[in-house]
């Protein structure tokens, strides 16, 4: 008996790293800061006075009911809204201290620093290789060897290399949906972003492919700051470290951030009653 006990002791001692330290991770400083951000489509005000801090090298999820402005909020972060006619933004979004809405700010550089992955996997109708090489090529990389290196590395980071290394020159469209989405992530990784925005990246995927992408995000968060918009609360619960809950108080009003905090906290004990009602499915 004492022998057995000894073995148990030994076994547990092996796990040298303290559990305590791991669970309470120190709060990372913000990578992006939204300050009093408002945006409108023409006369329609979609978001008002958003204050938010996107923590560095963590996954931040944005959840909320349909039409509350999640996607709009996300697209403010790399000025993809600039493309939409009639869209106006006021307030500040600071990336490492600089306001990206400053008139002089280089949008092209911004979009390379803050990459984006979309709802539907949207690889270019080119080969797998060309998809990943697209960004570096735009930036002027011509050298074949260098390109090869970037492509391989990006695909490896996106946990896709093993699956596609035989079909690099095959059309990207022949990949499965989940592979396509990871390819899109690899494509973004190839331009060496610091922040990655993901707008419902799994909503067009089946559960298995979704699982894969989620696993990938978990791996990537060691090196990248990520913001993910998702309709699916369970997904937010599973993958994110921090969660922002956005909603519209009354029909026609702009969206606002009702609660922002650690995901653990939001899903076990949200501070705001509206958050609680939403995540427990008690709305309306």
């Amino acid at each position: 008996m004492d022998d057995q006990r000894e073995r148990i002791t030994e076994y547990t001692r092996k796990c040298a790293d303290s559990f305590l330290q791991e669970t309470r991770m120190e709060e990372p400083g913000p990578r992006m800061t939204l300050d009093n951000l408002s945006m409108s489509y023409g006369d329609f005000r979609a978001l008002e006075d958003i204050m938010l801090e996107i923590p560095r090298e963590r996954i931040t999820a944005i959840i909320g009911p349909s039409g509350c402005g999640k996607s709009s909020l996300l697209r403010c972060l790399n000025r993809m809204n600039d493309i939409i006619p009639g869209c106006r933004v006021t307030g500040e979004v600071r990336l490492d201290g600089e306001n990206i809405y400053d008139p002089g700010y280089d949008v092209i550089r911004l979009r390379r620093t803050v990459g984006m992955v979309f709802q539907k996997p949207n690889p270019f109708p080119k080969t797998v290789y060309e998809n990943v090489a697209y960004g570096p090529r735009l930036a002027g990389v011509k050298d074949k060897g260098e390109l090869n290196g970037v492509v391989e590395e990006s695909l490896k980071k996106a946990a896709l290399w093993e699956e596609v290394k035989g079909k690099l020159l095959g059309p990207a469209m022949n990949l499965s949906g989940g592979q396509q989405q990871r390819l899109c992530i690899a494509r973004v990784l190839a331009v060496e972003p610091e922040v990655i925005l993901l707008d419902e990246p799994c909503s067009a995927l089946d559960p298995v492919a979704t699982q894969r992408v989620e696993d990938l995000l978990a791996e990537l968060k060691e090196r990248y700051t990520m913001v993910i918009v998702t309709h699916n609360m369970q997904q937010a619960a599973r993958v994110s470290d921090f969660t922002a809950f956005v909603m519209i108080e009354n029909q026609g009003e702009p969206g606002e951030v009702v609660e922002f905090g650690e995901t653990n906290h939001i899903f076990t004990n949200p501070a705001d009653e509206r958050t609680e009602r939403y995540i427990t499915g008690r709305f309306g």
Binding site: I108, R111, G135, L138, V188, V191
Partner: protein, 262 residues
């Protein structure tokens, strides 16, 4: 059935004039058809020459317009232009021909000091004729590209021109190619407008301003008075046109099959 018919009708010409069909000598004899010479090389040349001319002018213009209305112009302007282009497609070819005849030919005559009829006039008319086809179909191809492609490219920090050049045009390549080929089909088959401006000479054109004929214009010119082998020779031209058409179809099929695979 129609193929067979055309083929049968053209047999007399092919058999009796086997060696002369590919010459440039076209001297039909209305009263005794068998005595005429029916070389159609000049017309084949005319067809190819005018078609190429039309393509060179019309295709870039059409594709450029398509890009313009789908990606560059503000939505309202783009919409108006594309509706106008549809309208242009509906204008009967005789009217375009009429314009070529009354406006273009005299202009060319004034500039070059020739009659004004000929390949150049025909090319310009054809360019106008195929413009709507190429522009509308290319625009369709560009429009049917998923908007996500553009977003993806922009999100990676590409400028609009980089996006168009590196993403949109390659992605719509097949659709644009199909548009061009269909435009070419239209140019080859076009009859009336060309006939009105090409000059209808029975000679090979070596320069842009020489009068010549195309196969279709020759058919329409001679159709009313032909009999016997003469008519059969016209059918033989029809057969050649048919073969050209089939080749184009096969081309389009191949292009679009490719697309289905990918």
């Amino acid at each position: 059935m129609i193929f067979l018919f055309i083929f049968r009708e053209s047999i007399p010409a092919i058999t009796s004039q086997r060696f002369t069909l590919m010459t440039t000598n076209w001297s039909p004899n209305v009263t005794d058809p068998a005595a005429g010479q029916y070389g159609m090389l000049a017309f084949l040349n005319g067809t190819i020459f005018t078609t190429l001319g039309g393509m060179v002018l019309g295709a870039p213009l059409g594709i450029g317009t398509a890009v313009f209305i789908t990606r560059i112009a503000p939505a309202r302007i783009g919409g108006t232009i594309s509706r106008g282009i549809e309208l242009l497609a509906g204008i009967p070819s005789v009217i375009i021909g009429w314009f070529g005849l009354t406006l273009l030919v005299p202009q060319i005559a004034r500039w070059t000091g020739t009659s004004g009829y000929g390949v150049m006039a025909a090319s310009v008319v054809l360019a106008v004729m195929i413009l709507p086809t190429v522009a509308a179909l290319s625009a369709e191809a560009l429009k049917s590209l998923p908007p996500e492609l553009e977003e993806a490219s922009m999100a990676m920090g590409a400028t609009r021109w980089q996006t168009i050049r590196c993403t949109l045009l390659p992605a719509a390549k097949r659709g644009i190619l199909v548009a061009t080929v269909l435009g070419m089909g239209r140019a080859i088959g076009e009859t009336m407008a060309v006939q009105m401006v090409v000059g209808n000479a029975r000679q090979i054109a070596f320069s842009l301003t020489e009068r010549t004929s195309t196969m279709t214009s020759r058919i329409i010119t001679d159709m009313g008075e032909s009999t016997g082998v003469f008519r059969s020779a016209l059918y033989a031209q029809g057969l050649v046109l048919l073969l050209l058409a089939m080749m184009l179809i096969l081309g389009v099929k191949l292009i679009s099959r490719d697309k289905r695979v990918k």
